[in-house]
Every structure is written in structure tokens, then in C-alpha cells.
């Protein structure tokens, strides 16, 4: 079968060259496309994200789309995801850990619809089959209203079935697509600095491979599922998962992780959850929630840190005073030293309606963090990637190192570098604009590069050109992970207003992972929350948190004095 021919992306490089000539004239630094249409700055070629298999007439670079190479996600994110149901996260990890990739052909909708009928011969009572079938479906399928998907309660299910979507009109089911992270997410999050923690991955898989923690009805469900799915026993294997992605991971982490302390924290937290005595359903729910929490926090951390770093680079490129926020170098200060610590100011959900004021820190911190930073994350990543590639062309380190503190420092002391860097960024803005608007003429392209400094022009153009779909690679994912499900939330909504609000399930999870089977003074518990960026929105909320924990039996007061209050996990 021949691969369908795609339409070539034709960019008028003549207009691009004309715009670059204006940039050269204005900046006094020669920027141009060489004979191979590669960008050069002061005569030095810039290694821009390459176009795979370019068709005749297409330039060798490609500055649009959602590819890792353009967003420069190495060490920060395993892939560039799109939002999807969070229950599929663990499913995909198991699927990728099976030698035959879990290529079951049966649709989960067949199981959902056929279970009750398959129970009748076993239970010999249609009424019992109806009620028990309903209970088992509630147990094994997600509770999300608009998408009921089979949960990864056992490896055999993942092996035998595929997630499906059912047409509202025809009622027919078809395989559902998947857009969130692939199975690489697990070894990525469990990267220990040298390799993925295979033993911990296997611990998680072992939990889902065996039947020991299942009750009679769970086993009955699995037997019926095996019949309907027509598939035998399967085993998820950490070796297989890791070897499948090892090359990608080694490449991604070649220059180190974006935040190794955050990855180490995930490993600790996963260990804590796996150490907990949980039923199978609770274990699957808690692991999914834990992964969702860490991915969400990783998105916020990446958006805030990279955003701040880019602010400093742009200020240095413009020879302007540095922004008020301190520059962020690396994680030498640990998670508590990260600018994200305490930035997510939350309130406690009560399950009942509570009004929210626009002045409430739970809303203002959402606006600042989510609106100002997270939404701009794709644009920030693209700008950082292109800026570090330009610096590399001008003599800087490998772009994968993302040494933005070094870049800002170099720009501050070296005026020649500053000129060349800004010219390069302005030129990249021209190319970027042309990639998104191939029909743009030289004037429009120059307009994109005109704002000063050039680094600012580049960021502005990326923001402008990607404006419509920025949320797809940022806010939508976080919303899907921690706002869409009925339980386990970080985000709350009152009408048009969104704010940080944690519900009971999230609070219980946080107590579990922060305390990690220890009993902690309340103050230390609050410090522990800061590692995840979380802090009560104000002093009163802190008291409400203590009261809530006490009501939940998770806090003991040894005296009326606040310092003698302890948080502990009941597991």
C-alpha cells in the first residue's frame, strides 16, 4: 500500500529573504538563508527544527505543529500531549509494557453492553445478573459522565480490549483515539538520573498482573471479559516498557531532566501509594490521581520556571532592568526553593456551593499561574527552543541544555552577542511567521520581527501565531487531568470563574504522600504541600484546612496551641 502523498507546504522564500534583508539592515547583523535555505546569523548556520522528508519546494526547517523537536521538550515532557480522559493514562502504560502491545481487538463497549447477558448462565437468575452486571460495570468502567472507558483494573483487560466511543446517533461503537501521553510517561516520571526505576515500574505492574487482591465478583468479571474479549492471560513487563523507550529516554535526558527533584518526588510518592493497603479499585484510582497530580504540577512548574527564565533572557537581550522575580537557574534549592512552591493558592471544597470572589487568592493565583504562564507554555517552549538554538549557533552551549541563566548572563555582558542574538531571534520570528502564514509578504514578515528586542519579537510572534491552539497543549490537559472527573480535583468552577480548590479525595491523597506514613507537625505538612506548589489561600484557609483535617480524622491536636497539631495518614 502506498503512502498517500501530502500537499507540500510552499513558503515564498523570496519574501522571507526580503524580510531578512530588512532585519539585517536594521540590526547591522547579517541574517539570511544560505543556498540550502538554512538560516544563518552573522554567517553562522542555525540548526532549526528540521522538516522530515521535505517535498520539493519546502524549506528544510519546520516551525509549526506540535512536535517535540519544535517545542524542545527534552528532559521536560516525554511527548507533546493533547487532552484525553485521565483513566487512559495507566491503560497506555500497561499496553506499551506487553510484548504484543496489548493489541486486543474487542471494544470495551462490547463488554459494557454484553456483561449482563453473559452473567445469566453463571448466576442462573436474570434479576441478579442485571444488578450484579450493573455493579461490576460501575466498578470496572470510569464514572466520567461523557466517556465511560474500561479501567485498567487488570492487565488481561488491557490485553483483550480497546477503548471505544459510541455514536449518539447510530449507537455504533468504534475504536477511540488516544491523544494523551504514551506509555513512555511512566519510565519518564521514574527517571532516577541515570535510568528509569524498573523495579518500581514492575511493582506497579505486578499489582495489576495478578489476581490476589480481587474478590469473587472481580474474578467473575475477568472471566466474562476473557470470554468476550477472546484473549488469554497477559503480563505487563517493566523491561519491555523500558527497552521500548530506552533510546528516546536516553536522548531526552542526555542534558539532564528539567526538574530531577520533581521526578524523584514522584518515585517516592508512587512507593507510598503502592505501600498503602488499598483495594484494587482504590489502587487504580489513586495511582491515576497521583500521576495526574504530578503531570499537572510538572506543567505548572515548567510553565512558570521557563516563563521566568525567558523573561530574564528578554530583559537581558533588551539591556533592560531584570524582572522583579529572581532568575531561576536550576533546582539546587530543591522543590521548596522552586518559584512554584506555594504559588497554587487553594481553598477547600466542601461539596456544597461556595461563592468565590475575584479577589480571592484561589482565583487570582489561578489567573496568574494558569492564565499568564500555563496558557503560554507552548509559546514559551518554542521561543526558548529557538532562542537557545540561535545562541548555540553564536557559540553557546548545546540547545538541549536550556541554560537560560547562562544566556541571560552572557547577553548582559556581551553587547556583540546581544546584537547578534536579537538579530537571530528577529530572523527566527520572520521564519516562524512565514511558516504559519506562507502567503505573507515581506512587509508582514518584517512587522513580525520589528518589536524590540528581537527575543521579544520572537515570543510575540509565537504567541500570536499559536494563539488559537495554545490551550490544546497546556490548559486543556490540566483541566482534563484535575478538573473533569467527579472526584480528585484541583480546579473548581463557579460559572465563568475558575479557581484552585481541592476536594476530599485530593486532600486525602496529599496527606498520604506528604506524610508518607509519618506523623507530621501541621507546619511541616504545609511545607510538604509547597513542594507540589500548593498553599492554603490565606491564614483563614490554613485554619479551615486544619479543621477539615481534624474532622476527617487526619489531624490530632495535642493542645490548643497550633504548634502541637499533627497530620497523619490513616492508612
Amino acid at each position: 500500500m502506498t503512502k498517500p502523498t501530502r500537499k507540500p507546504k510552499i513558503i515564498d522564500l523570496g519574501e522571507v529573504r526580503s524580510a531578512l534583508a530588512i532585519v539585517s539592515k536594521r540590526t547591522g547583523v547579517r541574517v539570511d538563508l544560505d543556498s540550502d535555505d538554512r538560516l544563518t546569523v552573522a554567517g553562522r548556520p542555525v540548526r532549526l527544527p528540521a522538516r522530515n522528508d521535505p517535498l520539493p519546494g519546502e524549506p528544510p526547517w519546520r516551525l509549526e505543529g506540535e512536535r517535540e523537536e519544535l517545542l524542545g521538550t527534552e528532559g521536560a515532557l516525554p511527548t507533546v500531549p493533547r487532552a484525553d480522559v485521565r483513566e487512559k493514562l495507566l491503560w497506555r502504560m500497561l499496553q506499551d509494557a506487553m510484548p504484543d502491545n496489548g493489541t486486543g481487538r474487542a471494544l470495551d463497549a462490547e463488554l459494557l453492553n454484553g456483561l449482563e447477558g453473559s452473567l445469566v448462565p453463571v448466576l442462573r437468575d436474570p434479576n441478579a445478573a442485571q444488578i450484579i452486571g450493573k455493579a461490576l460495570n460501575a466498578r470496572f468502567f470510569s464514572r466520567t459522565r461523557d466517556a465511560r472507558v474500561l479501567l485498567p483494573m487488570h492487565t488481561d483487560l488491557v490485553h483483550a480490549f480497546r477503548h471505544s466511543k459510541t455514536s449518539m446517533g447510530s449507537g455504533k461503537s468504534a475504536p477511540a483515539g488516544y491523544r494523551l501521553f504514551s506509555g513512555v510517561l511512566l519510565p519518564f516520571l521514574l527517571w532516577n538520573g541515570q535510568s528509569p526505576d524498573k523495579a518500581l515500574i514492575q511493582r506497579l505492574f505486578d499489582l495489576l498482573n495478578d489476581d490476589s487482591a480481587l474478590n469473587r465478583l472481580d474474578i467473575l468479571f475477568l472471566d466474562r471479559a476473557r470470554d468476550i474479549g477472546g484473549s488469554g492471560r497477559a503480563t505487563a513487563n517493566a523491561d519491555h516498557l523500558v527497552s521500548r523507550y530506552r533510546t528516546q529516554l536516553d536522548d531526552d535526558f542526555a542534558a539532564g531532566a528539567f526538574c530531577q527533584p520533581a521526578l524523584s518526588q514522584f518515585a517516592d510518592d508512587l512507593r507510598t501509594v503502592l505501600d498503602s493497603k488499598l483495594s484494587r479499585t482504590d489502587a487504580v484510582e489513586w495511582v491515576t490521581l497521583l500521576v495526574s497530580l504530578h503531570v499537572t504540577v510538572l506543567f505548572y512548574r515548567l510553565a512558570l520556571v521557563r516563563g521566568l527564565q525567558l523573561d530574564h533572557v528578554i530583559a537581558a537581550a533588551g539591556d533592560l532592568s531584570p524582572p522583579a522575580e529572581q532568575p531561576v537557574g536550576c533546582c539546587s534549592a530543591g522543590l521548596l526553593g522552586c518559584p512554584l512552591a506555594g504559588s497554587i493558592r487553594f481553598r477547600l471544597g466542601t461539596g456544597a456551593f461556595q461563592p468565590v470572589s475575584l479577589r480571592d487568592p484561589c482565583h487570582t493565583s489561578y489567573s496568574e499561574l494558569d492564565g499568564m504562564r500555563l496558557l503560554a507554555l507552548p509559546a514559551t517552549l518554542v521561543t526558548v527552543n529557538l532562542a537557545t538554538r540561535i545562541w548555540h549557533a553564536l557559540g553557546g552551549p548545546e540547545p538541549q541544555q536550556r541554560d537560560l541563566a547562562g544566556l541571560a548572563g552572557a547577553l548582559r555582558v556581551d553587547s556583540d552577542l546581544r546584537s547578534q542574538f536579537n538579530a537571530g531571534c528577529a530572523a527566527a520570528a520572520v521564519l516562524h511567521h512565514a511558516s504559519h502564514r506562507p502567503s505573507a509578504d515581506a512587509h508582514e514578515l518584517w512587522d513580525a520581527a520589528a518589536p524590540e528586542p528581537g527575543a521579544h519579537a520572537l515570543r510575540q510572534d509565537v504567541l500570536l501565531m499559536r494563539g488559537k491552539d495554545l490551550r490544546h497543549q497546556s490548559r486543556d490537559i490540566v483541566n482534563q487531568l484535575l478538573a473533569a472527573d467527579p472526584v480528585g480535583r484541583l480546579l473548581g468552577r463557579n460559572g465563568p470563574y475558575t479557581f484552585y480548590e481541592i476536594d476530599e479525595a485530593m486532600l486525602v491523597l496529599l496527606v498520604r504522600i506528604v506524610c508518607a506514613r509519618r506523623t507530621l507537625p501541621f507546619g511541616d505538612f504545609l511545607l510538604g504541600l509547597r513542594k507540589y506548589g500548593l498553599a492554603p489561600q490565606h491564614e483563614l484557609e490554613k485554619d479551615r484546612l486544619a479543621d477539615s483535617l481534624e474532622r476527617l480524622g487526619l489531624l490530632i491536636r495535642y493542645s490548643d496551641a497550633g504548634e502541637a497539631a499533627y497530620v497523619h495518614d490513616t492508612h
Binding site: V122, L123, R124, D125, N127, A128, I131, I132, K134, A135, A138, R139, R143, S212, A213, L214, N215, R216, L217, L220, K277, L278, S279, R280, T281, D282, E285, G351, E504, V508, T519, P521, S548, R551, L552, G553, L554, R557, Y558, S559, D560, A561, G562, E563, A564, Y566, H568, T570, H571
Partner: protein, 579 residues
């Protein structure tokens, strides 16, 4: 008397005259003094407790009583949550004889007052100070005695610490609701006519011409009366029981000040207030006088956490026929209202509670209307309104006492039945004699439960166990010294230790009687819910245990059990009807 006033903080050795008058002696001092005067006294006494629990006062009393036996004393370690450098050095020096590896120091007993937070902070900081004495054994010992979880020390603990160090936690001192409580003499000392009371006979009032306008005096006379003392002592004892912690003396004084003066009089001299009302006269003044009376504003607008808790327990709000009768009949006959006011909080003693009499006259003459709520509160303070919770509170206290005495009697067995039944009804389902508990934490239309018996399950870890109070177990001598009484039941459930406080106990009682707990109530059950989930988890993996599937929507439930027939295993589902 106010917790916020400078006089609320006691400095040992520098007690003001008012502080000396306010001091209430308790049996604890005698017991601690006896320990100090014993042939082999402790080498170190640590008095802990939160602010206002009476540590400094106790130190002064102990010095007066047995100063000869006492060595170095530190009283000011109490007045901060963390020590400054100078203070930390002083504390390090103080504790140096008890450093790891030392022999028992002996010598006169060292005495120190430290709140619990200071103990935690100091010892955590001490571990990090260069050149400091290693105090890990002492730290572990103190935290254990205080019932606070702490890191285990690396080495073994010297045996002599048990005899050498006495920890007395004044937060454990019963202050209300028990024989010999501190509150009773505190209330009695408020009687203005008492020569040795807080007001020293209130000589100033003798020549006062406006006493009938003085609601603070009337309030003091009312709340120091024997009946009101009983009522308030019982009520505050219930407050302590409900929150699971004793009330600090300073908080009690603060509460009593609020009752006597009301929030509106905090800024004014009460005498000026009375003079102002007298000069104003008329209906407005009468209304203001009524507003200041203990039955009105002080409980309508409670000032402070304790007052709020007491106001919640106000019997006039309890849905009882007595309270209803009083409130419903108020305002129909003003003379009858006046009579009831006089009967309940008035006085036969001439010259006392004059403000009540003035108000009664105003009501009688139709110049003032008395709300039913105020009358009901007067009945409550006058001992005419029965405490609806009283029998339940007494029952819970009897159970706690029985556990401490380790006496397995009918009441204790009945209590265990109540707990097991209440838990089954609140969290599980009962089908005939069988009880079923959820196998996971999921909440939805359907539930899968597993059979378990909290009373006599074959798996012992799934049975409901009762254990002695941890304070008694960890610090018997110190607990005895302060007449410690447990305020909660400690049970083992699914291998987890859970405390059942009085509010939980009443909820479980109600659940046993068929009441459906609200979601707010259920939140309080969280610890129990988790413990029961563990029972469900343990039970569900045992294939021999029957399961129950329940569907809330249709109200139908099926019991599923494994059966073996002709050498083959099969599942038998039968419809059941949970009670």
C-alpha cells in the same frame, strides 16, 4: 480575666494581687508536691501544657510548698513558641545533665515549664546546633510521655530516665465537668459578696446608688450561684468532651469574663456603664440593661471559641418540650414572665441581683418585653431546664471510666455492641444477623460489600477491639498527678487505631437507632470509614466470604456466596432485603 489582658499571663515569683486571688488550688498541686517530697524525688520535672494552662502558677506554688527540694528552675521557657539563641543556650545547659550517655544526675529536682510546641522546637533545634549536647534519649522520652509522635533515638534509652524525669501535662488536667474541677471554685469566687472571692466582697458596691442598673454584678451573682455553677460546670464539661480536649484555665476565665461583662462592656468600666444607664432611665435603659444580662447578649453574641461552643449547647435551643413550653408561652402574660424571671435567676437575698428585680418590674408593668429565648436561658441557668444530653454524656463517661478500670461489664459489652451496630448501619448493610461492609471507597449507585462481623469475626484483625487510653499507657504517673481523664474511646479496627470522641459516639448511637447521618456528619467519620475500608479490603480477598451487591436506584440487593456441588464450585445469588 480576659485572655487578652496583660494580667492573664503569669510570671512565677511576680504574681499580682489579682492573680493571687484568682488562683484556684487543685489536687494536682498536692500530688505533684508529694512526688517532690518523696524519699526518691525525680531529678527533673517538666511541666508542659498550652498557654494559660497554669504552668507558671504551679511553679510558684511548688516553690512556696517545697522550695527546699527544688534546684534550678526555668519558668520563662513557656512564653514563646521557639527559643531565641540565648534561651536555647540556657535550655541546653539546663538539660545537659540528662544528655545521652550520662549517669543519673541526682541532686535537687530541676523544674521547667515548657509548652508542647517549645519542647518540639527546642529539641529539633538542639539536634542541629554544633557542639550541643546530644539529647536524643531525653527527647524521645519526653515526646513519648507527652503522647506526641517523635523520631526514635538511635541508641538505647537509659533505664534511670523512668525514675528521674517526671512529665506533667497540664493540658490533661480536668477543668470542668468532673468532681474537683477547677471551674467550680472559679465560679464560686466570682460571688461579689464573698470576702475571699475575686472581688473581695465588692466593698465599692456597698455605697453604690445604682446597683439595680448594674448587670455585671447581677451576672456575677447569677453565675456564682450553686445552681448555675452546676449547670455551667456540666455544660463546659460537655464542651471538653465534645472537642476531645480539656479547657485551659485562662480560657475559662476569659469565658467567664465574657459572661459577666458581655462583649459590649469590654471597653468600658462596668461602673460607668451602670451609672450611665441609671442616669438615662426609662425604657431604653431597661432594654440595655436586659441586653447586658447573662441570658441575653453574652450568649446571643458569644465572644470567643469557648463561648461559641457553650452557646451551641444552650439548652434553650434544644428541641425539648420544656424549652418549647417556655418559649411558646412567653409574652402572653407579662406578670407571669416576671414571676418566672424572678424564680429562675432572681434572688430572695436582699440587696442581691437587683438588676434582675428591676427588669422583672419593667416586664410586670409592660414597659419591657422579655423574649422566650431569654426566659428559656434563665430556666437553664436556674436549673429548671433538663439537659437533654446529660444521660448520654454520663453514659459515655461511665464507659470511658470502665475502660480505664479494665472492667468488662455489661455496659462495656453494650457499648461495643452499639459501636459495631452503629458502624454497620452507618457504613454497611445488615441482612438479618449478617453485616456487610464496602470493599472499596467508591461511592455510586451500586456497591459491592463483603460479610464481616465486627464482634466475633473469625479473622481477629477484623474485630472491633478496645484499648486503654494512650496517655495512661505512656505516662501513668504524670497522668495520675493531674487526675487525667480520657475524653475519647480508643479502638482497633482493621488493624488501625481510631479514636471515638463523644460526637462520633452519639452519631453511631443515632445510626444504630436508624438515623441517617448527614454528609457533614459522615465527614467526621472519615477515620472510621478508612478503617472499615480496610476491613472490607481484607474480607473481600477471602473467597469463602459472602458478598452483597446493592443497587440504590432499584433498592434491590443480592447476596452472593460460593457453593460447592458435585465437586464443582458455583456462585449462588439470592435476593435479600437489608434492614
Amino acid at each position: 480575666m480576659r485572655a487578652s489582658s496583660p494580667g492573664a499571663v503569669v510570671s512565677a515569683g511576680r504574681l499580682s494581687e489579682l492573680q493571687q486571688r484568682a488562683y484556684v488550688r487543685s489536687a494536682s498541686e498536692e500530688r505533684i508536691a508529694a512526688l517532690l517530697e518523696a524519699p526518691q524525688p525525680p531529678d527533673l520535672v517538666v511541666l508542659s501544657g498550652s498557654a494559660g494552662s497554669g504552668k507558671s502558677h504551679l511553679i510558684q506554688v511548688l516553690h512556696e510548698r517545697c522550695g527546699g527540694q527544688l534546684g534550678q528552675t526555668i519558668t520563662d521557657a513557656t512564653h514563646a513558641e521557639s527559643p531565641d539563641t540565648e534561651q536555647a543556650d540556657r535550655l541546653l545547659g539546663f538539660f545537659a545533665p540528662f544528655a545521652d550517655g550520662s549517669q543519673r544526675p541526682g541532686g535537687p529536682t530541676r523544674l521547667i515549664a515548657m509548652n508542647t510546641g517549645m519542647v518540639l522546637k527546642f529539641f529539633s533545634d538542639a539536634e542541629r546546633r554544633p557542639g550541643g549536647h546530644p539529647l536524643s534519649a531525653l527527647k524521645e522520652y519526653l515526646l513519648e510521655r507527652l503522647g506526641v509522635p517523635g523520631a526514635k533515638s538511635v541508641g538505647s534509652r537509659p533505664d534511670w530516665l523512668e525514675d528521674a524525669v517526671l512529665v506533667v501535662n497540664l493540658d490533661h488536667r480536668p477543668t470542668a465537668g468532673s468532681p474537683g474541677s477547677l471551674l467550680r471554685p472559679m465560679l464560686e469566687s466570682l460571688d461579689p459578696a464573698k470576702p475571699d472571692g475575686l472581688l473581695r466582697g465588692a466593698e465599692r458596691c456597698e455605697t453604690c446608688l445604682v446597683r439595680e442598673w448594674c448587670y455585671p454584678r447581677a451576672n456575677l451573682e447569677i453565675i456564682s450561684s450553686p445552681t448555675a455553677v452546676d449547670v455551667l460546670d456540666r455544660t463546659l464539661g460537655t464542651v471538653a468532651l465534645k472537642r476531645g480536649r480539656e479547657i485551659a484555665p485562662r480560657d475559662l476565665w476569659d469565658f467567664l469574663a465574657g459572661l459577666a461583662l458581655g462583649a459590649s462592656a469590654r471597653r468600658n468600666d462596668p461602673c460607668d456603664e451602670a451609672a450611665s444607664l441609671a442616669s438615662k432611665g426609662g425604657g431604653d435603659a431597661a432594654e440595655q440593661l436586659l441586653d447586658g444580662l447573662v441570658v441575653a447578649r453574652p450568649l446571643d453574641h458569644p465572644d470567643g471559641d469557648l463561648a461559641v461552643r457553650v452557646a451551641r449547647l444552650d439548652e434553650s435551643f434544644t428541641p425539648s418540650s420544656q424549652a418549647h413550653d417556655i418559649i411558646a408561652s412567653a409574652g402572653i402574660s407579662p406578670p407571669e414572665d416576671a414571676r418566672r424571671l424572678r424564680d429562675w435567676i432572681g434572688s430572695d437575698r436582699p440587696g442581691t441581683r437587683l438588676a434582675v428585680e428591676r427588669l422583672a418590674q419593667a416586664v410586670e408593668q409592660g414597659r419591657l418585653e422579655l423574649s422566650g429565648r431569654y426566659l428559656a436561658r434563665a430556666a437553664w441557668l436556674g436549673g429548671y431546664l433538663r439537659d437533654e444530653d446529660e444521660s448520654s454524656v454520663d453514659e459515655f463517661r461511665r464507659i470511658l471510666a470502665a475502660v480505664e478500670r479494665e472492667i468488662v461489664d455489661d455496659e462495656l459489652l453494650e457499648m461495643r455492641d452499639t459501636l459495631a451496630d452503629g458502624l454497620a448501619r452507618a457504613f454497611g448493610l445488615s441482612v438479618g444477623p449478617e453485616t456487610f461492609f464496602p470493599t472499596d471507597s467508591a461511592e455510586g449507585e451500586t456497591a459491592v460489600l463483603v460479610k464481616a462481623s465486627l464482634l466475633d469475626d473469625t479473622a481477629t484483625e477484623m474485630c472491633l477491639g478496645i484499648r486503654r487510653d494512650p496517655a495512661w499507657r505512656s505516662n501513668g504517673i504524670g497522668s495520675r498527678a493531674v487526675s487525667y481523664r480520657p475524653l475519647g474511646l480508643h479502638v482497633d479496627l482493621g488493624g488501625q487505631a481510631v479514636q471515638i470522641t463523644y460526637p462520633l459516639w452519639t452519631l453511631l448511637q443515632q445510626a444504630r437507632n436508624g438515623a441517617v447521618a448527614s454528609s457533614v456528619d459522615l465527614e467526621r467519620f472519615h477515620g472510621l470509614r478508612r478503617a472499615l475500608e480496610e476491613i472490607g479490603r481484607l474480607g473481600s480477598t477471602d473467597p469463602s466470604r459472602p458478598l452483597l451487591v446493592s443497587d440504590l436506584e432499584s433498592g434491590r440487593a443480592f447476596r452472593i456466596a460460593r457453593q460447592s456441588l458435585l465437586g464443582k464450585e458455583t456462585l449462588r445469588a439470592s435476593e435479600v432485603y437489608p434492614s
